[in-house]
Amino acid sequence: MSALSVSGLSVRFGTHEVLRDVALDVAPSERVVLFGPSGVGKTVMLRAIAGLEPNARGRVLLQGRDVSDAAPEARHIGVAFQNFALYPHMSARENIASPLRAQKRDAAEIARRVDAVAELLRIGHVLDHAPRALSNGQKQRTALARALVGEPRLILFDDPLRNVDAKLRYEMRIELPRLLAARETASVYVTQDFREAMAMGERVAVLLDGTIVQCAPAAEVYDNPATIAVARLFGDPPMNLIPARGVAAGGGCRVNVAGLAFGFAAASPAEPVFGVRPEAVTLHDVGSPGRVPARVLAVTPMNERQIVLLRLADGTELVASEAAAPAATELHVGIAPGAGTLFDAASGLAVATSPVAEEVSA
């Protein structure tokens, strides 16, 4: 039985339809990331799951229990808000104890469980402080402790690491999945940072234009984005998207991209676009079949990698991600075997993956 099953979820504010017939399934103790650009409705979807969105229509099932019409207090889920949403007039201890107080646990049990979760999140020493006396990181951990302490089967995270510093963000990216796995808690995690999505999610659901356009393991979203829009959003630097020419060949098609040729096992769309990740672009000193000459326009370091902007002979610009900056400015470019996705520019959808490099014919 799914920890969470959303179907037919629509949210409309006046004439503006934010979510349109969205469906999402989260297995028990699975971590799903809801990824999308800002303003796309990720938070709205989370609020709808929590029962905080009065404009939501559709079905929400928690462990098979239909809670579509249930009030937020009757859903028994944990929520970590982006702005922490701590109760300013209560100590950190009382903040964390709130879900247990609602469950009418006795004082000894509350004290024991608050201490345990505070210990886990390393905020035991600040439990008696008011929220305003806590650092951002401690506020964050207090909010997480509050979401965890009631041991809900599902926790919703609304971009909880947006407001904390980079160091803490990296710590939490490692810590949170471990914590959730240990407690066998399912989670939906909202973020607009693809690195966070890769780190936090077993599956990534990409929300675009009011609907989930792709829901797949993070690596698959990265390697094989379902649409051109996903390819543009997911990844930094984003996927190279190069207009191509296609002709029918055998059972599939043959696509010419800036002097290179690839065979795909699908019919060619009218306006083919060839997509390739910067990591799959290879640089060589010597030319050979399957490589084209290129010129280095700029090199930018980024997280241990060198981002190389190249211009091919026909004017196409291409981004490569390399371990080291290339020595020469004139070199030859190839594509790693099997890398590349064929998109249809008209529909925006991916048509085929795993191309076979072919000899360029005149």
Partner: protein, 285 residues
């Protein structure tokens, strides 16, 4: 630039002194007057050195006013009690009605909501005389004329709009996420209202309550028309000092001092609530 700083500080000090003098002098002078006899007050030039007398206060507290033509009974202490009863009951009623209403206006968008809120505010613009004549006739008919209940009801015209609009602003400043978080924790909506919304708007509720208490206390015209004799507050009761044998300045001054004390004491007490910024550091935007 220390020289610049010092001259600036001196200027600021001078300006503050001037302002304090301007506002405090009348109060100081009233206090001085309340310790003088009528003839001392009316002497020219006014004397700053005099032997103070408590006769004015004694007259007020015992309720016996001696004038040149004889003894006069006044009910000043009873007026003071009326003022206290009317103002505090009005504020309590306005808080009971106004705080939930302010919350509704702050949190929910509903049809005609803004119009309703504005209509309530407009009660503060309307000249009281506009409603007083029909009101006094109606009150006579339904038997609310010259009753505490009737006056407290009419005082809502003063206190309710004030509380509604001030407290609404404070509720709007409380992030809805804080209340949402409390509900997600498993608490009912009403519990969240009592345990989260009201404490966080506390300073605002205290300020609004205090202000409307002062406004109710200072009201003159409603009580003048709708109350007589035993139900009059101090503002109307002070008219008794305008007697056939002249105006009793000393007693008026003493009455003013006595009637300032309750509001002054409440303001001092409420001050710590007013300055307490409870909401600080709760939400990271």
């Amino acid at each position: 630039m220390p020289v610049h700083d010092r001259s600036l500080r001196l200027l600021r000090g001078a300006a503050l002194t001037l302002i304090v003098l301007f506002f405090m002098f009348p109060i100081f002078w009233i206090a001085v007057m309340s310790l003088q006899t009528n003839s001392q007050i009316l002497s020219l030039p006014p004397k700053l050195v005099f032997s103070p007398t408590l006769s004015n206060y004694i007259a007020l507290i015992t309720g016996r006013l001696s004038t040149s033509v004889g003894q006069l009974n006044i009910a000043f202490m009873h007026n003071l009690f009326n003022s206290f009863l009317l103002s505090s009951c009005s504020v309590v009623l306005a808080l009971i009605l106004g705080v939930p209403a302010a919350y509704a206006f702050a949190r929910f968008k509903f049809r005609l909501g803004e119009d309703m809120a504005f209509t309530l505010l407009s009660l503060k613009f309307a000249p009281p005389l506009l409603v007083l004549l029909p009101l006094s006739l109606e009150f006579q008919q339904i038997g609310l004329d010259n009753t505490y209940a009737g006056l407290i009801w009419i005082y809502q015209l003063i206190t309710l709009p004030l509380i509604l609009w001030i407290v609404r602003g404070y509720f709007e400043d409380v992030s809805p996420d804080i209340e949402n978080a409390y509900r997600v924790d498993g608490h009912s909506w009403f519990r969240g209202f009592v345990k989260i919304a009201i404490p966080l708007a506390g300073p605002g509720i205290a300020a609004a309550g205090l202000l409307s208490f002062i406004f109710a206390w200072n009201n003159f015209i409603f009580a003048l028309v709708l109350a007589s004799g035993s139900k009059q507050p101090v503002t109307v009761g002070a008219l008794a000092f305008v007697t056939a044998s002249g105006i009793q300045y000393g007693q008026i001054a003493a009455a003013v001092v006595l009637s300032i004390i309750p509001t002054f004491a409440i303001a001092l007490y409420a001050q710590r609530w007013l300055v307490e910024g409870l909401s600080l550091g709760a939400v990271k935007g």
